[in-house]
Symmetry: C2
Subunit: 333 residues, 2 copies
């Protein structure tokens, strides 16, 4: 607040209009009794003096800040940035502003950020891909929380996630329908709820189509194309037989594709691949990757909607919403 000129407060409006601050406040909030004449004069003064309500003062009094905090592991990850967009797009028109904390998957910072935002009086929190959703446990939290993407290990939480199970199912089904009978699965090495759900879909699809389930077909790697590439290279060198790969994340698919290319395996002729996420590069690699699209924008919007509902109705619903996914057929199947 530079610009020496003191801000205009309701006191100024009151003085200018010749009424009390209470009346000004009541007119401004259309709450309480006042004559049309008074109203007009107050609003005139507001206009004339260029009054803008001091949100801080209002918040202090009402204990409501019209702001929500978003904890995001990595804002530069397009998955998360689309979620953030969805959240912001829902919150802004409703008068809520969005705080961002980027935690870089750092548990310390995650918890600290939550404390920080709570101290600032956010009305609610949205946790994207929280490492373990420990937020609720470690803190005597005072505000509603909605989790996106990763289910915290607790029962009573509001969670928005993709329909990962169906995603895993249709991905596998696509491979099967294109003739694959020996399908490898590449997954994150961590035991994330999302991954587990996708893997379940994979199992059930195999089952449904009378294909054997072989735990040796499941490979856990860290999520990076390099890890996937070297993993698939090893598999190729081992002489293991396979004709399809379900990569539970597109980066894994990209790495797998690279390995296959290096070893001269034709995609999709000899090996077919389905990824997950529908990240941008899937459309630019050659061949373009068939994948399962997640509707992050809708997920973000939904999370925000549930959070604001919970804030405004002051109730804890603890729903669990699954946002539909969609198979995007491209050139690897």
């Amino acid at each position: 607040m530079k610009n020496g000129s003191k801000n205009i407060s309701i006191k100024d409006i009151a003085q200018f209009t010749g009424v009390s601050t209470s009346t000004v406040s009541r007119v401004l909030n259309d709450n309480g009794r006042f004559s049309d004449e008074t109203k007009r004069r107050v609003l005139d003064a507001v206009e004339k003096l260029g009054y803008r309500s001091n949100v801080l003062a209002k918040s202090l009094r009402t204990m409501k800040t019209y702001s929500v905090g978003v904890i995001v592991p990595d804002i530069t990850n397009e998955f998360f940035s689309k979620l953030v967009l969805g959240i912001e797009n829902y919150c802004y028109p409703k008068g809520y502003l969005v705080y961002i904390c980027n935690t870089s998957e750092d548990r310390e910072k995650e918890l600290e950020s939550v404390a920080n935002m709570e101290a600032r009086g956010v009305d609610g929190l949205i946790d994207l891909g929280g490492v373990a959703g420990e937020i609720a446990k470690s803190f005597a939290r005072k505000v509603p929380v909605v989790y996106i993407d990763r289910r915290p290990n607790m029962t009573d939480a509001t969670v928005i996630e993709s329909d990962n199970y169906t995603g895993g199912f249709i991905a596998t089904e696509e491979l099967i329908s294109k003739g694959c009978s020996n399908i490898l699965l590449l997954r994150d090495h961590r035991d994330l709820s999302t991954m587990n759900q996708r893997v379940n879909g994979y199992f059930n699809a195999l089952n449904e189509y009378d294909l054997p389930i072989d735990m040796n077909n499941i490979f856990r790697v860290s999520v990076s194309k390099e890890a996937a590439e070297s993993c698939v290279k090893e598999i190729l060198e081992s002489g293991k037989d396979f004709d399809g790969i379900f990569a539970t994340s597109d980066w894994l698919a990209v790495g797998a594709l690279k390995a296959l290319e290096v070893y001269g395996k034709k995609v999709p002729d000899e090996v077919k691949i389905v990824g997950f996420d529908n990240i941008q590069v899937t459309e630019f690699v050659n061949p373009k990757i068939t994948t399962v699209n997640q509707d992050e924008w809708t997920m973000g919007k939904t999370a925000a909607r549930l959070l604001l509902d919970s804030i405004e109705n002051n109730e804890e619903s603890h729903q669990s919403v699954q946002v539909p996914v969609e198979l995007v057929r491209r050139e690897t199947t």
Copy 2:
């Protein structure tokens, strides 16, 4: 604020300790005089009662919120999300939290967001790629503003931008050094400062290497690979002769590449291309695109540093910082 249990305030600490709120406040801020004994007892009480300062109240009194607002056209654009990361990474450790408003290039929302954030008492604002930097003009703004990427049309502003001139120069130089003598330039149709600077670099490189400048070699399109693709197709159909393209944005390069592929022009043998931005897909198209890397993270950090300096020293410096760029050689040159 659900959870009926009233929050602990300094008043509670005061009561518990048997001192006044003033003393508590002074101990907490290590500001003023008090005995070691008092200090110990106050801190004990703070610990025991689990007191957390109410940031709202503090802000109301001190007129400082330790928050900054960021206006971003499109958070899902990797260029912007990296800037945001840089900003957050600098602000967080300094105790500042970051508000995000996504404007979708909508001027209305841009101005409204600024007003909104100012009303919430942000200590400063960072405007990313502001459509025209009208913020300063239209509002009697009260807080310092730093612009990133696009120079507002006013002289006294703090601006962080890439060294676009040098970028344009080295991009063109790369093409020339690889034997091109007839270099097309694809640029955004709008008159953005960034584009103009890159074009100037292009001109000067041509000049430096004694190549003619031909205004007919400059093509203005809207920034999308589709627009670039159809533009380059038209050029190819017209029979125009050229052996190099400097695309002032990678998406334009991607589109150009596509058009050349469709028309059977070999890249880099017959035509060489250099893009700008170093977006992710440049590494995944075939051939991989040579481009000019912008260091968004540094730009974001720098912007945040300048903003916080300006906030804390309560001075307006109005610097203009150019962040170095770097040529990334890949397969299109």
